[in-house]
Structure formats: structure tokens, C-alpha cells
Amino acid sequence: MAAAAHWEHFPHQADVGVRGLGATLEQAFEQAALALTAVITDLEIVAPKEMLQISCMAPNVELLLVDWLNSLIFEMVTRNMLFSRFEVHLEDSRLTAKAWGEALEVARHHPAVEIKGATYTALKVAQQQDGNWLAQCVVDV
């Protein structure tokens, strides 16, 4: 009965929350990553031209979500890139992923903010009553 995977933002007084929903935990993580890019710019104008491999580890699945988002933030800043497509694989406490995106062009992407980090505030990774997975936290901008 799973609805199509999707993402959303939820309000935080000073910052913004990112939330991914999907039929699997992997999908929820992928959607949360899309929500992350959407804090900065419109996803439609980020072309998935180049692919990057990302991996991270954490003692539990909630800390892993924060690590995943922080890995993306690190890659965005140090490579000056934005990402718009993700493929996540989870195995125990290890995440391996592919992220597709392109070089940031300020004149075209008009980035609203840069993200300082993903936080443990409103952090939740859980399967909901309808069977869908939810992965969310607030990001500091």
C-alpha cells in the first residue's frame, strides 16, 4: 500500500527540516537527500551529469542518516557541486551510495543558502504504520 516515494520540508524556527518518505529505508534516505538539495535550489534545474560514490558508517540508522546528509554537504562544498539524483544501498550500519549532479553555477542555480550541517534535532528514522519509511532531521543553514 506504499505511496510513491517523495520528500518534503518541515518548519523549524530558525532553520529547515528535511524529510524523505519511501517504501524502503533506502528510498527514504534518497528522498531526504533530494529535500536537502531543495533547501538550496530547485531540483529541476540541477542536471544529473556527473556521478560520485559516497560511503559512510554510524552505530545506528538515525546517526547514519545524519552522516549521509553531512557527507553530501561536504561533497557539495568541497567539489562546488549540487546533486539531484541518488541511489542508496544500506547494509547494517554501512551506507554506500551514488549521487549524480553538476557543478554549481551561481548565476543559474541562485543558491538560497549554503547548509552548515545536518543536526540531531527532530531526527527520526522509522517505519510508519502504513508501512512506509520516514527519514528526517533539521539542517542548520
Partner: protein
Amino acid sequence: MDLALFERKSEYEWHIKPFGKMHVPGVIFASESLLREMDAKVYEQVTNVAMLPGIVEASWAMPDAHWGYGFPIGGVAAFDAEAGGVVSAGGVGFDISCGVRTLHTGLRIEDIEAVKTRLADALFHTIPAGMGSTGAIRLDAAEMDAMLRGGARWAVERGFGNAADLERIEEGGCMSGAVPAQVSDQAKRRQRDEMGTLGSGNHYLEIQQVTDVYAPAIAAAFGVKQGDIVVSIHCGSRGLGHQIGTEFLKRMVIAAPGYGIALPDRELACAPINSPLGQDYLGAMRAAINCALANRQILTHLTRSVFAQIFDKMLPQARLPLLYDVSHNTCKVEEHKMNGRTKKLYVHRKGATRAFGPGHPDLPRELRDAGQPVLIGGSMGTASYILAGTEQGMRLAFGSACHGAGRAMSRHQALRNWNGRHLVDDLEGHGILIRSPSMRGVAEEAPGAYKDVSAVVDAADHAGLARKVARVVPLICIKG
């Protein structure tokens, strides 16, 4: 917020008696109306901080307090290392040593009017602002370490500014105890292209006019007169600080149970001051403070170069001396009086400004009688304030005051309420020039999305935390 939760100690001081695992009371400084409008999460976060090991006196919140990460933004808490006190990466935050500095220009409004647009464009062209902007300075590994050890002093030695600037910066521009080796390669890599950049979000560089002076004697000591033009810069330790915050938050969350610390909120991640992890964090955090001080020093140099280019021939006096530089996300070792005894304490200020009172030995001689300048940033189109630390404030909250207006609504809501382009046009109609790479960013930072900074400053003044000295309004705002 439900006022029934508090015991009103004075008109501007609201106490929460310790309950459950709280070691000390919670105290919020605010007017009745500010407290009524304050997010209920502030109450929860103030009481959570009061549960941390080794906290002394109280868990305080300033009048601009709002929902933060673990600590409220506007939170102040001091810890005693000898009593098992902790240092908290969450209590300092991601933007380590984010702060404000204000420069005198020696110019008056009439000197600015004719060149205002040219000045705004030149500043926007010269000051790297917003995501993806890069600085012109690249540091190799040795220089990176020298910067992390030296802070603004390093910057001055490299030709960014002058020795007189250093006296007007907390810690003389150089935070001691910084350990560059505790800063990860990732954090250093994240900083590679970001020296001398403004950042984004609520960070800005503003040209401002002094509109009101409330305390003439202190204003005179600060060198501030009605009608003066000043420059204020609000930014922090950039990617390096963000990465250190991220990494130590995780390490402290994982290590806390091993130290016997039960965290009421993961974001309160902390470690005993007297532990290897606590010491590692202090070394890295102090290096990030130096990064922020160096960054603001380089931005000051860039600002001076723009002023020299535009005003040099007609106004050679526009050298832009520094009024003061404050940091509002820090943990610092300070001496404070407790029960008549002087104690060495680790004071966390998260979105709160140090506000040392008159006579404090850490203040430069020219400012010692007046008290420390406390620089409060407002929102884009409204006002900012200059305050001074007080004797009373040293007792109330270990010499701490508010740091800004604080948001009243989320970015999400702001985007629905305002259009960036319209906002820029509207502010231009009011004589305020905005320059930003992102109109969406401007909308998210709309003045209406913030609380009334005047109400916050008045509450700080009436509570006795700091004294109101002058009000400034923006003429030009460079927004990241």
C-alpha cells in the same frame, strides 16, 4: 509560552525552579510580552541544559532566545571542570565563533549619498558572498596551521589590517590553546576556498548610519556620534567551523554513555572537560575561533580596499578603524565570582554575546571604564544596536547579553509571505540598497521574518544585562 511555568523574580527575570534531574535553576531574561511569544521549546531546552553535569549557578536564556539545537539560541551555561563539568559541541553550535564586528568610517551621511550605488556595487563585487563564492587566499598546510593558531594576529602579520585592530578584538585577536592537529583534514579541506568569505543565511556586511545615541558618555568612549557611518560584518568560521561542529557532535554522542552521561537530547552532546575528548574538542574549537577571527579580519581588509578606492582622494581619513569584534558562539574559560569566591569556569554562549562590565581586565584600556561594546545585529531592513556591558550583568549571567533579533518565523513561511525582488525594490524605496546573489535567500531573510530587535534590546537593557548605547540603521546590505 505559559507564564505559569515561571516564578517572576523581577520585571525582566523569570525563574524555573530545579525539578527532576536539573542541577540548577533555569532563568530567562525577557519582558512579559517577549516571554509570552517565546517558543515553548526554549523552556524545554533551558531545563535540559540545567541537567548537564557540572553546570553552576543557572541555565540562562537571553531575551532573543528561540528554539535551537540542544541549547536554545540565546543560551548561556557555565561549567566547573573540578565538579565534573562538561564542554558541549552542541552548546557552541556549528558556526563556531560566529560574530559581529563594527568599523568606524569617519564619514557622515552626506559623504555617502552621492556614491551609495557605486559603493554597494563595489562591495558586492569585492566581498565573496553566498554559496559557491570563493576567497582569493589559498593556504598550504603550514599556513593553515599558522592561521588556526594565530587568528586575526596571523591575518595582520600577513598584511590584512594593522596591530591596532587586535586590541579591539576579544582575546586580542588570537585565541590561545588552539590545537590545529585536532582539526581534521576534512575540516581544513572545507576551508580551502573559504578564507575571506561572508557565507550565507543571516550573515551580512552592512553600511550603517548611527541614528540615535542613548548613553552619550559611553558612546563618546566608543567613538560613536549621531549621523556617523559605520560598517558591520556578521559572519563566522565558515566551512571549517561547521565541519568541526559536525564531527565532534557525533563523537560526543557516541562517547557520552561511556562517560556516564545520560543526554536529555542528542544535540546536547558533550564530554567532561577533563577527558581526552573534551580536551580534543577545546583544541579544535579554539582553532575554529581563530579561523573566524582571521576571516573577519580579511573581510575587513577587503572592505577597507573598497573604501580606499572610492573615498581615498576626497576623504583620506576613511581608514576604518575597528570599534570592536564580538563572537557569539563560543565556549571560553573565564573567571567569575560565585558565593564570594572567584572561580575558573567554562562559559558556553550559544547565540549570546560576551558583555564584560566596566573595569574588566580583558578590555582594552580606552574602553575599560565604559564596559565592553556589545554588537547586536538586527534584520536586513530594520536596525542594529550597540550596547555596553554592565557591572550588574557580570552578576546576572556572568557577563552575557543577547546577540540579535532572533527569527519569528521559519524560512518556509517567509518564502510564502515575501518575494525577494519585490523586497529589494521596496527597501530601495526606503533608501536601503540590498545586494545578494539569491533573491530566494533575500526572501528567506525578510525583515518581517524576524522579531522586533528593539524589544529584545530594550529587555536586555532593562534587565541590566547590557546598557543601550546607540542605534544604527542599514544603508547598504551585502547578503550571502
